[in-house]
């Protein structure tokens, strides 16, 4: 199946902070692709940084809803160091909260 590729630069600019945009990408692109068990590549080419709020709005619900399918099918390319750290932070606390709901 063809990968779904989302180029953040074109939507959110070189510093990705607009949560409304993150939310619409989540609802319109990421969740439907995961529902089809499709791989989603989120491409941060040209994006120097982002906020935790943006990344949370982008991927927290997909991880909470699709769990292992999301963790397996979501991938990130061209991430700067700070973008990587923010994504790692969201992964850490989202997986902690998944553990919570598994109790």
């Amino acid at each position: 199946m063809k990968k779904e590729r989302i180029r953040i630069l074109g939507y959110a600019g070189e510093f990705a902070e607009n949560k409304d945009i993150a939310k619409s990408l989540r609802v319109e692109r990421i969740l439907p692709a995961l529902a089809r068990n499709q791989t989603v590549t989120i491409d941060f080419f040209g994006v120097s940084g982002t906020t935790q709020s943006f990344i949370h709005a982008l991927i927290s619900e997909p991880i909470r809803r699709y769990r292992d399918v999301a963790l397996e099918n979501l991938e990130y390319s061209h991430c700067s160091g700070s973008v990587r750290e923010v994504i790692r932070t969201v992964y850490d606390y989202m997986q902690e909260s998944l553990d919570d709901t598994n109790l």
Binding site: T51, H56, R64, S80, R88, T89, Y93, E96, S97
Partner: protein, 323 residues
Amino acid sequence: MKAILSTSDYLRNSDRFIDGLDFSDPHSFTIYSNPKWLNVHPAILTLLAAMAMKVGKENVRFDNLTALSGSYLDRMGLFDFTTQPSPYRINKKEEVGRFIPITIIRNSTEQSRFITDMIPLLHLPAGETDAIKYTVGELIRNVLEHSGSKEGAIVAAQYYKKSNTIRIGICDSGIGIKRSLQKYWSTHAQTDLDAIKWALVPGISGTTAREGGTEDNAGAGLFFIKSIAYVARNYFMMYSGSGIYKLLLHDKRIENPRLHSNPDDDRHSERNDAPYFQGTLVAIDLSLESKSEFTSLLALIREVYGKAIRERKKKKYREPKFI
């Protein structure tokens, strides 16, 4: 209402300015000032603008504004909030950059435009601006999402080349932090000060009682910003209602300061007897770091954030019943 501007209204001395505030008369606002010299943090300007918007332009008056350095108030746009003409003649084309005048942001589109325009306005070197964009982005978003302010976020900033520091203020006249936490965290937000401190704890969002937050809010924004300020040895202050929490600088000799998830563990000053301000003011002095330092800082914050969430979760675990 009244406010008194002095010769050194920095974050370090902010108590003096705050003690001089008087919100008792909601129909008029007089700004008194030192006749010889003024030095005002942008955060104070945003608070003055918020107060001026409450009473309306025609009810705002400057008293005895004679200091030459008072032209800074004009340059930063404070006279847009009064019908009183400015006594200063400034050439607005001079000194382009280095500051962002008082700006009102009402929605996320204006926020994104502001963040894009802000860096060239400040003439900052590329690659050293992620911490600023991060901080301003998260703070404005907090106002737009949680303050309930009809006027939006009031923002101003000033860059100081010598110390490579930017001073930022973001203010709103919304519901205040205490009320924004009442729905899910009322037991932790009994006073304004308690509410401010609880809002600084990682994973606490006014929109849910669930760890990890909702699909749109995680409750991490203020903790990140306090941590950015702490590691860089910068002042950070929050003022809401009668509460003030001010992060103080840690010892310069400590090379790797330890981040704390509990704001009580940070070196800080606090009070819950400030003149009651209906709204929230956040002020920060941010020294500019290189991109690699900001990335390392984010890694450090991630570590502490994860640990804090795990520890809080553990507190909820049930103990075995040994009989």
